[in-house]
Structures are given as C-alpha cells and as structure tokens.
C-alpha cells in the first residue's frame, strides 16, 4: 500500500487493480435512466469520460485485502434506538400543499404515470 495519497489530478492510473474499473457511455445512459436524470448526448460524453476517470480512482478500494474485515455501516456503536408508540401533532395540510407543484382535492397531483400504449 502506498504511503502517500495520490497526487492531485492523477486520477486514471490504476495499475494492478483487481476487477474492471471502466464505465461505458451506454452504462452511464442506463444509470441516468435508473436515477431519473435526463441527460443530453453532449452531457453523456462529458460524464462518461469524467466518471471513467473517477471510477478508476475509487476502484482502488479493491486493492485492499479485506475478506475477513466486517463493513462499517454506522460510525456510532448504537443499537435499539426507538420511540414509544405515541401520537404527535401532524403538519397542517394547507402548509404542505402550499409547496406542491400541483394539488387537487387535498391531494398532490402528478402527470399520468403510464404511457397510453402500456
């Protein structure tokens, strides 16, 4: 393992990394769809290039032999934090719907969910 952190801007060099670390334009397009992000063709090109470099750098975590190391999901060693089953005051509906992009009949209004052909 290196003593020093990678130099500024030295992103892509990933000699000896286990596992693939590239990302294709198609993959980026697919991920953007999953994440409900519309991306233009030009953005796709730029992002794919940038993400490829970033992914190459973060893939370095795979260099670390950690087969028997437990993952940390919580920095605090807390367990069993709960609340009693008691009713507390709610928000006023007007206050909440006032922020809505569209509302009708006391409910949030959204465009149709399905395509007509579905």
């Amino acid at each position: 393992m290196p003593d020093n952190p990678p130099a500024v801007g030295a992103g892509g060099a990933t000699a000896g990394v286990a596992g693939r670390s590239g990302i294709t334009r198609d993959e980026v397009a697919h991920l953007a769809r999953l994440a409900r992000l519309a991306v233009s063709e030009q953005e796709l090109d730029v992002f794919a290039g940038q993400l490829d470099v970033i992914l190459g750098s973060v893939a370095r975590v795979q260099e670390v032999a950690a087969a028997d190391i437990p993952p940390t999901s919580h920095a605090v060693p807390l367990t069993n934090v709960m609340r009693p089953d008691e009713v507390r005051p709610c928000l006023a509906r007007e206050a909440v719907l006032a922020a809505a992009p569209a509302a009708e009949d006391g409910r949030f209004r959204v465009p149709r969910i399905l395509d007509e052909e579905a």
Binding site: M1, D3, N4, P5, P6, A7, V8, G9, G19, I23, E27, L31, A32, L34, A35, R36, L37, A38, V39, E43, V46, F47, Q50, L51, V53, I54, L55, S57, V58, A59, R60, V61, E63, V64, A66, I69, P70, P71, T72, S73, H74, A75, V76, L78, V81, R83, L91, A92, V96, A98, A99, A100, P101, A102, F108, V110, P111, R112, I113, L114
Partner: protein, 496 residues
C-alpha cells in the same frame, strides 16, 4: 460603534448585550449593515432575513428588560446559517435550483436550539449544491469569494458561512461537514471550524447528503467562540436515531483551559500519510511550525503511520455518492420544489427526469450516477461493500494510533485557497482538497481546523483530531495554539 461591533468576538458581544451596554437590535443592525456593504463582493448570503433577525434580537432585548437571565451564553449574537439547514418559513435552497423558493414547514433541531438560545440568525449562506464540493463553485447561485483574496474560493461546501464570518458579517457561522466541508473552508479562510463526533449534533432538519457522515458544526474567528456555539447546538435529539445520548462535554471550559497554554502530558501524533506529494511546501512548513509551537508549550510529539488513510479518498467517493443517490431521490417534482416539462403530454417519469436534469448541477448528477452504479446488483460488493470495509480499516488505524497519541494532527487541506475556476473542470483535482479531512469523517471522530499561519499571504489550517466523544481535546489543543500566536490570524485579513 457599528464597525467596532462587527469586529468583536461572539463572547464579547454576548457579554456586552448581557450587561446592557448595547442592545441586541443594535448588534443585529450593525451586522446587517455590514452585509449590505460587502456582500455584493463576497456573496456569502443567499437570503438575508432582516425581519427575522431584528425580531429575534428584539426578543433578547425584551428578556433583558424584563430582568430575565440571558437564554444562553450567546444570546444576542448574530450568526450565518448554511442553507442546507431547514428554517421554517425562510427559504432553504441547499444551493440548488431544485429547491428554489422552497419554504420549509418546520425548523431543524439546530435551528430550534439556536432560536431558543437567543442567537440571532441573520440569514442563509451559500454552499456547494447539496453540500457536494470544496469551493462553493457548485452552487447554482454563483460562488462565494474568499475575503482574503476575492479571486479565490472560500472553500466548500460551507464556503458561504466561512466567507461570512471571515468578512465580519457575523461572528459565528454554522456549516456542515461530510468529508471536510467545515474544516477545509475554515482553513482557507483563516477561521476555526469544527466537525463534531458523528452523532454529537442532531441531523434532524439537515438536508441529507451522506447520512452516515454528515455533521453540523461551528465556525468562529476564535476557538472559544466556536466552542460556545458548539455547546448551544450539541446534545441528544430523540428525533435523530443516530444522535448520541450522552452529556455534551464542557467545550468552552476546555477552550479556556487550552488558552492557559500548558499542554504538558499531551501526546500528539503527526500522521505520516497526510503529507508529501500534492501538498504545498508552504502549507507543510506552516503546519510544522505549529506542531513545534505545541511542543514548546509542553506536548510530546511523535509520528504515527495510518496506512489505510491512503484509501480514504476512494472509499469516501464511493460511500458518499451512494448514500446521496438515495437521499436525493426524493427530489422528483411531486411534493415540493421545481417541476419542469409538465405540459400535459408527458408521463410522470419524463417530468421527473426533466426536472432533475434542470434542477441539479453537474457535480450532483455525477455523484448520483456514480452512487447508483456503486450500489447496483453485481457491483455492490466490489464498490460500496468494499468501501465500508476500508472504513473499518481506517477506524482501526485510529484505534491503534490512540494507544500512543491523545490527538492526531495534519494539515487541514493540502493547499491554500485556489483560484475560482481553477479546478471546476477537473473533479479529481477538486476532490483532492479533502485528502486530510476524509479519514476523520469516515471514522466519525471529532476534528477541528485552527489557523496556524500564512503561506503566500493566505491562511493555513492545522487539523487536530481526537477519539470519538473527545471533542474537548480538539478545542483545548486549538486554543493552546491560538494563545501561543498571540492574536487570531483573521485579524490580518485585508480590509474589504
């Protein structure tokens, strides 16, 4: 008097107000005037809430007139609040277009505690969008500027709060720190900034970026000011399941004790891996001098090696984007915020995609895509899963270090403030600003940045890290360094 007031520390202002020598309203006005005078150049604030501030100040004054004791040791002191923290009825944008105009229907716990303490919130400050960035250049509303040199960044993501305090627009600021977003701006702006032990300050009402890393914390021009503010906002919150249920250690007391200047018996570990290539020589020299100063006042210094720290950056840039890709999914044009493209012909999925495309900036989009990838089936183990293991190794490095050291030190960030525009097109170069701050974030331990000198006329910060729950140690050491320097570094900031 007005100019004088804005040059005062928070502790001094609180004492003046408590003694009746000046009214809280007068203090608030002085600072609002200062904002009006300089913020066009600094752009620290996204929203100035003059009415709210004056009303809060009036309450402080009324209490005093009625003979009641001050609500806290900071009653009447103005403060700049990072716009990632929810304020009821006051715009909260998180530096993003997607929340442009959103008025939260509730207060964050931090906000409520500030109000209860009689602290006067002047307004909401600029930040990198959704706390992602190290310069405020990712703000949808334009960058903030470093008062030391307006062509340079004030750091990020809490750059607006840092700029406000460094420009004397408020003696206190609140930022949030996920990977260094309080410490790095503090360092490049010549301020004190502290990231509490994870769980030490409530996250309820703090718009989430990376839930297992986010912490709100104080900015001040002095160590004591930061400690006083930390005491006001810290402590258990039943509304936050990850908040620690333990009494807040006496931080102001630790700051005062540190200022007395004797660190005999304290063992300081200098982290070998946080230096070398990529670090400006001037920064390293300044840090070395600071360490020598601490030795002079009694500390024992030695080098420690934390090999896993070299993997902090890749681990962080997997964990944080993963959590944020999930946390930001709620911005979908349905319940609040921006809605784009709803012309009656499109299905909801399309409207969501267009809205998010228009409402999020490129860095946010990059991290959402990266996070979605790292959590995907087939990739989870190699990326997110592996990063969480690296996190364990980093915690173990800290644990091993605590056997021989009471605190660990390093530069807060490898360089002084860089120029606006210099790193925006190179994400990896931007990420490198976090190299020093990431390990403490991943391990959840407290870390402070305290000014330790100038390099090329720009501030350098020393980072002091301590074991979990030992925030007081950070304040004590920082105060000792500050006392040894004689006067706060910020006094040397060029006038605006």
């Amino acid at each position: 008097m007005s100019d004088e007031l804005t040059r005062r520390t928070a502790a001094e202002i609180a004492a003046l107000v408590a003694a009746g020598k000046v009214s809280a309203v007068e203090v608030a006005r002085a600072h609002l005037d200062r904002i009006a005078a300089v913020d066009a150049r600094v752009h620290a604030f996204l929203h100035v809430d003059a009415d709210g501030a004056l009303a809060a100040a009036a309450v402080v004054d009324a209490r005093r007139s009625a003979g009641e004791p001050p609500a806290s040791p900071l009653a009447g002191v103005p403060l700049a609040l990072k716009d990632v923290i929810v304020t009821e009825g006051v715009p909260t944008t998180c530096g993003s277009k997607i929340l442009d105009g959103w008025l939260p229907p509730y207060d964050a716990t931090v906000t409520a505690r500030l109000k209860a303490a009689g602290v006067v919130v002047l307004g909401k400050t600029n930040m990198d969008e959704f706390a992602m960035g190290s310069s405020t250049e990712n703000s949808a509303y334009g960058p903030s500027r470093n008062p030391w040199d307006l062509s340079r960044v004030p750091g990020g993501s809490s750059g607006g709060s840092a700029a406000a305090v460094a420009a004397y627009q408020a003696p206190l600021g609140i930022g949030t720190d996920t990977g260094g977003s309080i410490r790095q701006p503090a360092a490049v702006c010549g301020l004190v900034g502290h990231k509490p032990t994870y769980g030490g300050v409530s996250r309820y009402g703090l718009v989430a970026f990376s839930s297992s890393l986010d912490q709100a914390g104080p900015f001040g021009r002095t160590v004591l000011d930061a400690a006083l503010l930390h005491e006001v906002i810290a402590g258990h919150d039943p509304a936050d399941s990850t908040s620690i249920d333990a009494p807040v250690p006496p931080l102001a007391q630790a700051a005062r004790a540190g200022a007395a200047g004797d660190l005999a018996g304290l063992r300081i570990g200098v982290v070998r891996e946080l230096g070398g290539e990529g670090y400006q020589p001037g920064v390293e020299a300044s840090v070395r001098e600071a360490v020598a100063t601490l030795e002079k006042v009694g500390a024992a210094v030695h080098e420690v090696s934390c090999p896993a720290f070299g993997y902090a950056l890749p681990a962080y840039y997997l964990i944080a984007p993963s959590e944020c890709s999930s946390n930001l999914a709620r911005f979908d044009a349905v319940r609040y915020g921006l809605r784009v493209g709803d012309d009656g012909t499109r299905v909801l999925e399309e409207v969501m995609a267009l809205t998010r495309a228009a409402g999020f900036g490129p860095e946010v989009k990059r991290r959402i895509i990266l996070g979605t990838y790292a959590l995907s089936s087939g990739y989870y183990d190699a990326y997110y899963g592996q990063a969480q293991k690296v996190r364990t190794l980093i915690s173990r490095d800290f644990a091993a270090a605590w056997r021989s050291a009471d605190v660990l030190v390093s530069p807060s960030t490898p360089t002084v403030a860089f120029g606006i525009g210099e790193r925006v097109d190179d994400p990896m170069a931007m990420y490198a600003a976090d190299l020093c701050t990431l390990p403490a974030s991943l391990a959840g331990v407290p870390a402070i940045s305290v000014p330790c000198g100038l390099s090329e006329g720009l501030p350098v910060g020393l980072q002091v890290m301590a074991p979990a729950l030992a925030d007081d140690r950070c304040y004590r050491v920082a105060a000792a360094l500050e006392a040894a320097a004689g006067r706060p570094l910020i006094d040397e900031v060029p006038p605006l």
